[in-house]
Symmetry: C2
């Protein structure tokens, strides 16, 4: 959304809440799981096996995204992707999203259209729809997404099931978002793929359900950083986890040039970078297609090691840190 | 939450995201419908008949609540109550909530505790639990609630089913929140019940499912104002709706003294005041217990009349109005 286009678009205040909602809703095609879409007091979503998996995330402008780095379309894709990853991490399948959006009254409606288009584009990659929402006035952009998912008769894959002797495997890539952030922050050109990956993550859609069907013992999505997130698995399961730099070398090597350009340590990105929304899971035996082994599960006490030693670098994001 | 207590409480930044979430989650008792509560990537909620009703609302500080008028506990109750009303308006029953909360890092944790307590108190009134959430840094408070509900095998009651010749009935009270707002805004003491009703609405819990079971044709919750919300029913159903001031006199009369004290017109509050979250529904025959007739359904075109004439006063809230 260029500044020119924004300047020509009428604003939220000019168009009004209900007319904007009409624009956002009109012409969208809901998947079969959305039994009743937007337009009433609530939506109705099908839940085949009598259980709904539900998760919610809030994204705040200048905290979780910057409108000089991301287009509104990118912000919409990111908000959907990171919520979908939470459903994947339960071994479930996304059925629908609902979205709360706050923005200043002088926001060009074209930007809201683009945000909604981004949400629908990303939801479409997983066959899901946006079943409802709320649009309010707020001093900055706040995007709050809630996602519903289905387990298709399987038990949810929790953080608490990891067993000593199992392998730790990952689906998706690590450190890309953190590398992209560093490149954007230092205004280093090139590395377009990495910069894009910060702006729009690419969770390994479908890998969570595949892991569940293959008997994954425990699973989590890497949102705060690999070491930080695996600590939750270690604590919930009462196990140690030992990461192998040999298993993670492919991620490290993919980031080496960008690390050199920014003066960063690629291992900090791989082990501490969040927002890639890769999935990490523990398996007793062979890992399914699309998964690769990066470590092993040890007896307790709960801790996360790297090649058998404690990791001293940056370990991950904290919401109220600076 | 007095200023003294706030001053003594550690802040979100000092305590940190994960420790605050631990405080909020610890010791809460989930209802049976919450199969898996907070602590994993997502929650799991039971949906008995294979459908989930879902709705979401976002509340922004100084737009939807003021922390000099409302305690954090009040804000929590209001956020839960207004979301629950959307589920009631479908003829459904609330099963669980998920909550996104944004606040500045210097927010006293005691205020977050009070907000969560208010949410749990209000959820407890309807036998529901808070199944999960997200806690992020934001320049002002933003509370985003998503509610899940169950239809117990019934079809949802939509806005679109009203038939000419039916009666329009209401459960709950009208104009109280608007009266309370005016009293608070003009700093008029007394009328404590009305001022409280602005701060914490009292939806008629259970009346929605009762209406659905009694064959309600169409239903809506009065969130923006009676006339404004009934316009949605009129348009969706292709009918006219004629409100009777005789039927609404009990609401008007209850507000007469406050109207006199503030110089307002009590009819503007009754017909245009939102946020009471009363329910309005159309019935072919007798209305169930707790409901009272306030008008009738006419042939189209879609319009809302008062005693057969167009209403000229304030008709309701618009998100990007001033």
């Amino acid at each position: 959304m260029g500044k020119g286009a924004s300047g020509e678009s009428p604003t939220l205040r000019q168009v009004g809440e209900f007319a904007v909602i009409d624009r956002l809703v009109r012409g969208r095609s809901q998947p079969a799981a959305v039994l009743l879409g937007p337009g009433d007091d609530a939506a109705v979503v099908s839940t085949g096996d009598g259980r709904t998996v539900v998760s919610t995330d809030m994204l705040v402008q200048d905290r979780h995204f910057r409108l000089d780095w991301s287009t509104p379309h990118d912000v919409g894709r990111k908000a959907i992707a990171q919520n979908a990853a939470d459903i994947e991490a339960m071994g479930a399948r996304v059925s629908a999203f609902v979205v709360g959006f706050g923005a200043p009254p002088d926001t060009p409606v074209a930007q809201i259209d683009a945000l909604a288009d981004g949400m629908w584009d990303e939801a479409g990659r997983i066959g899901a729809g946006i079943a409802g929402g709320d649009l309010v006035s707020c001093p900055q952009w706040v995007v709050s997404v809630t996602v519903l998912g289905e387990l298709d008769g399987r038990p949810p894959v929790l953080r608490s099931g990891a067993k000593p002797g199992s392998v730790l495997a990952i689906a998706g890539e690590l450190g890309r978002s953190a590398a992209g952030y560093s490149l954007l922050d230092k205004e280093i050109n090139g590395f377009i793929d990495l910069r894009r990956r910060h702006v729009v993550p690419q969770p390994p859609y479908g890998a969570g359900a595949l892991a569940a069907a293959a008997g994954a013992q425990a699973m989590i999505d890497v949102s705060d950083g690999l070491v930080a997130d695996l600590r939750h698995v270690a604590e919930a399961s009462g196990v140690g986890i030992d990461l192998s730099t040999a298993g993670l070398a492919v991620d490290h090597d993919a980031l080496a040039a960008a690390a050199s350009a920014t003066g960063a340590d690629a291992w900090s990105w791989v082990l501490g970078g969040g927002e890639d929304h890769a999935l990490a899971a523990c398996f007793a035996g062979a890992v399914p297609d699309g998964w690769r082994v990066i470590g092993r599960v040890l007896d307790g006490p709960p801790r996360v090691l790297v090649d058998g030693a404690q990791w001293q670098g940056y370990a991950g994001w904290e919401s109220f840190g600076s």
